[in-house]
């Protein structure tokens, strides 16, 4: 909802007592929420003082507050004709025009006000998306976590993203980036065969695109096609040897296939590239356990617990440790870890879905 900003009551240039009386009556009626009465009073003011901008501005504001945006526009325009620098009238007219579906016309008026949020919204509606995003970001900085602003920023960003993608697709329909963009859309829609096809085409055109093999690998992983996922992730790690996520994904794909030794190599590499990532450490523990390296598994899972403390991943690490200790015949330790796992389970954090 548009917030109505009160207009400063300008000092009257030799107002007649009658004008002052109607002005006061209008202000009181407005304050009491009697907008029709306020409109009558301010109308009188404009008739008695037809060269004063303030009366027209107050009349426009009263219409706005009543919700009659259409009728608010003429007096506000007239006020600005009389006083083109009247910031409050610009702001009110901007609101009125925006509310009536004229965002492009609202923008120049809102630019003269200090309401960057309304300006951002008007720019979004007018299709000036980069400016809209910039102003909404500024507004959000002043009012963090405002749900309305978050909504409009999300919408503007989405529209900007769509606009860029539409532009890309229209301008370069057969480019790698176009196929990548289409693939990502299919991926979000869980239309995996189409996503796979588009990623492959993008790769055919530009096999060196950063992250493209990683994305294709995620499609395969989502369908549990682990050998194909492994191949895609491996290509990404070759292209981007410093990418910790690619190394983690490759390690996980190898792990899913029971290739524990190779998985450990990649997961260890990932951990070195980006240390102390709990998911990487958890998988590293699994790979070590699979290889029978209980000490390494214990170390990795204990680190997960240290980092995560009460999360579901910490619960999974406790569960892994319980199994490890049980296998070693360390009954007390196993029971302790199982107890921690159960405690976290009861706390309502369900274990994470399998990594893909």
């Amino acid at each position: 909802m548009i917030t109505i900003v009160a207009i400063l009551f300008f000092l009257w240039q030799s107002p007649s007592p009658e004008v002052l009386q109607h002005m006061r009556a209008g202000a009181e009626a407005e304050k009491a929420g009697h907008f029709d009465a306020a409109i009558v009073e301010f109308q009188k003011v404009t008739e008695l003082a037809p060269t004063e901008a303030t009366g027209f501005a107050r009349l426009g504001q009263a219409y706005l507050e009543k919700g009659d945006y259409g009728r608010a526009i003429p007096p506000l325009q007239h006020a600005l004709k009389l006083d083109p620098d009247m910031a409050a009238a610009h702001q009110l007219l901007g609101y009125a025009l925006l509310s009536q579906g004229y965002p492009a016309q609202a923008v120049p008026h809102l630019e003269k006000s200090d309401d960057v949020a309304a300006l951002g919204i008007a720019q979004m509606e007018a299709g000036k998306l980069p400016d809209a995003v910039a102003h909404l970001v500024t507004a959000l900085a002043n009012r963090p976590n405002d749900p309305d602003l978050l909504y409009y920023l999300g919408r503007a960003s989405g529209l900007l993203s769509k606009q860029a993608m539409d532009n890309l697709i229209a301008t370069y329909p057969d480019s790698a980036r176009t196929h990548q963009a289409m693939a990502e859309n299919y991926y979000v829609l869980r239309q995996m065969p189409q996503a796979q096809k588009e990623f492959k085409e993008a790769i055919r055109l530009r096999p060196d695109l950063p992250k493209i093999h990683l994305e294709l690998g995620l499609v395969y992983a989502g369908a549990s096609q682990w050998p194909q996922a492994e191949a895609a992730f491996r290509t990404e790690t070759e292209l981007q040897p410093g990418d910790a996520e690619a190394a983690y994904r490759l390690g996980n794909a190898l792990l899913q296939q029971g290739k524990a030794k190779e998985a450990r190599v990649e997961l260890t590499r990932s951990d070195k590239l980006l240390p102390d990532m709990p998911e990487t450490l958890y998988s590293l523990g699994k790979a070590a356990a699979l290889e029978g390296d209980n000490a390494a598994a214990e170390k990795a899972w204990k680190k997960v617990i240290e980092l995560e403390k009460e999360s579901s991943l910490a619960g999974q690490a406790h569960f892994g440790l319980a199994g490890l200790y049980r296998k070693q015949g360390k009954t007390a330790e196993a029971e302790r870890e199982m107890g921690e796992f159960k405690r976290l389970q009861a706390a309502g954090t369900p274990p994470l879905a399998p990594q893909q």
């Binding site: 869980r190 239309q191 995996m192 065969p193 989502g222 369908a223 549990s224 096609q225 682990w226 050998p227 792990l255 899913q256 296939q257 029971g258 524990a260 699994k286 699979l290 619960g315 999974q316 406790h318 569960f319 892994g320 199994g323 049980r326 296998k327 015949g329 196993a334 029971e335 199982m338 796992f341 389970q345 369900p350 274990p351 994470l352 879905a353 399998p354």
Partner: protein, 539 residues
């Protein structure tokens, strides 16, 4: 490794499909699950199949359980109108030429009860008269058919006191107290009826997950030996745990001489009931390491098998599940503890996109290692619209066991089906294990093993002090171990005979631990024969 490599060289035919899908013109059964827009959960859950030699002619016969007629919506009281023959359960007698004859009516099995929607079947000779009896589980009351020994059966449910009620799923005969009489374990799924049914999935309009309905108890019936059973669920501790059970499998996992019970639960932790040896059980799934996945996640346990896949002499557990949940392989490490080995055994790749039901560990290529067969197909008949990477109809999984690691093989089926139950046995008595798999809305698939040149041995146990079929015995042959049971899989019952692949060996050493405690050893047993072993009378 070398042995396996040589074998592959020696057996060029191994790459070819393992099974031939045998069309049986007289096997005209259609599993009528009657799907409706109401998405009653029962519609996607049947049905069982049993391989049994009901007339003791040496040939395996086939018994299949049918669903029932479901109306949309169902009226109360529920009536599944199974008077129409198309909704009957069916018994097919195998003839000497390998064909089958429908003997349902003459065997007295035509009446399944209109209040029942069929689910599964268990086979066991509960009165030790030498003829296998049939227990049918239903949504509704279950039915025990006593085999009269003359080709007919009599419904003895009421007298035996084993009707159960509610929604029963897999069941199995087991002599849990080693008194020589087969007892009966019945899994039950949940507290559900068509009146309480609902749909889930919003706009997708799907069957609801099990968590939407209250859990329930399983039932253990103790065989009194006079043709009646006593419900000992409470006394034994079985009823102390409520679950959502679909599968059950038996084995003595801790080698204490008493058969333990594994229960596959859907959408929750799995149960392992340790047999305390005094008529009571303790549920130890969590402490034994078989309750959850290795990540501590709850599983959608459906079918289960409790046999030794890695030839270390200890029974392991394999549980079939929904996609994105790898089929669980729980390796028996000894001392009552299991470790999760799904990834090491290769099942991460083989199963994470599939929904598994009936399951068996059988040595299909007679190389001395038990292979894995799983009937597959998603629960939701519209799953492709939700996730195109998943499928309502799937090919079964056949995975050959390469010294403890499973590798995909061609089962011989080319058309995906909504597989459910699966039973295993040697239908044509050629020494090579065959499979019968049930299919929702379709005929059973009879998969006949194409065979090969490896040697084999099939053992038929005849208990004297133990139960007549020796169920619960542990049999070791040339380093392999099998636990005698007709149970396991999903809703199904397999051939009671114990099949062993011997590879190149022409003789075998057979060691049997009978449920009575008697240990028996036979040396230099000739390969490639059906051997009946009688339990020594004297202790």
């Amino acid at each position: 490794m070398l042995k396996k490599a040589l074998m592959i060289l020696l057996l060029p035919g191994l790459a070819a499909p393992v099974f031939e899908v045998k069309l049986q013109p007289n096997l005209d059964f259609i599993l009528r699950n009657s799907p409706t827009p109401q998405k009653y959960l029962i519609e996607t859950m049947p049905g069982g199949v049993a391989l049994l030699d009901y007339n003791n002619d040496g040939l395996l016969d086939i018994f299949v359980v049918n669903g029932g007629r479901v109306t949309s919506p169902m009226r109360i009281p529920e009536n599944f109108d199974r008077s129409n023959p198309s909704y009957w359960n069916r018994l097919y007698r195998q003839n000497k030429d390998g064909s089958f004859t429908d003997v349902t009516k003459e065997a007295g099995l035509a009446s399944a009860g209109n209040g029942n929607y069929g689910m599964g079947v268990a086979i066991g000779d509960y009165d030790n008269d030498g003829y296998p009896d049939i227990y049918v589980t239903n949504y509704g009351k279950n039915t025990l058919y006593h085999n009269n020994g003359d080709g007919t059966f009599t419904d003895v449910t009421e007298r035996a006191g084993v009707a159960a009620g509610g929604w029963s799923e897999s069941a199995g005969f087991v002599d849990y107290d080693n008194d020589g009489k087969l007892d009966l374990f019945v899994t039950r799924y949940m507290e559900w009826d068509t009146k309480r049914s609902k749909t889930c999935g919003g706009e997708w309009h799907t069957y609801c997950p099990p968590e939407e309905f209250p859990a329930t108890t399983n039932i253990l019936y103790h065989n009194r030996g006079d043709g009646t059973f006593e419900d000992v669920s409470q006394r034994s501790g079985i009823a102390a745990k409520k679950g959502r059970a679909l599968g059950v499998a038996f084995a003595d996992y801790d080698d204490d001489g008493f058969t333990d019970i594994f229960v596959a639960n859907d959408g929750m932790q799995q149960f392992l009931f340790h047999n305390n040896g005094d008529g009571t059980f303790t549920e130890v799934g969590m402490s034994a390491g078989v309750a959850l996945s290795e990540d501590g996640r709850r599983l959608s346990g459906m079918g289960a098998v409790f046999q030794d896949y890695d030839n270390d002499g200890r029974p392991d557990i394999i549980v079939t599940e929904l996609p994105r949940e790898i089929y669980g392989v729980y390796h028996n490490d000894g001392k009552g503890s299991f470790s999760y080995r799904s990834l090491q055994t290769g099942l991460g790749v083989l199963s994470s996109g599939s929904s598994g039901w009936g399951v068996g560990l059988e040595d299909f290529d007679n190389d001395g290692w038990k292979d894995l067969f799983v009937a597959q197909g998603h629960v939701l008949d519209n799953v492709e619209t939700i996730d195109p990477s998943l499928h309502y109809k799937e090919l079964p999984l056949l995975a050959m066991n390469n010294q403890g690691r499973f590798e995909r093989a061609d089962p011989g089926l080319t058309t995906p089906v909504a597989g459910r139950g699966a039973a295993f046995g040697d239908l044509n008595n050629d020494g090579w294990q065959d499979v019968v798999m049930t299919v929702l809305g379709g005929p059973p698939q009879v998969l006949i093993n194409r065979g090969g040149k490896q040697h084999w041995l099939v053992i038929k146990l005849r208990g004297t002090r133990s139960n007549r079929d020796g169920l619960g015995a542990r049999v070791r042959v040339n380093g392999q171990t099998r636990f005698a049971t007709t149970s396991g899989s999903y809703l199904s019952a397999s051939d009671k005979r114990l099949h062993f692949g011997l590879g190149a060996a022409e003789t075998a050493k057979v060691e049997i631990d009978w449920p009575s405690g008697k240990r028996q050893t036979l040396s230099d047993v000739r390969a490639d024969q059906f051997l009946e072993v009688v339990e020594p009378e004297k202790p």
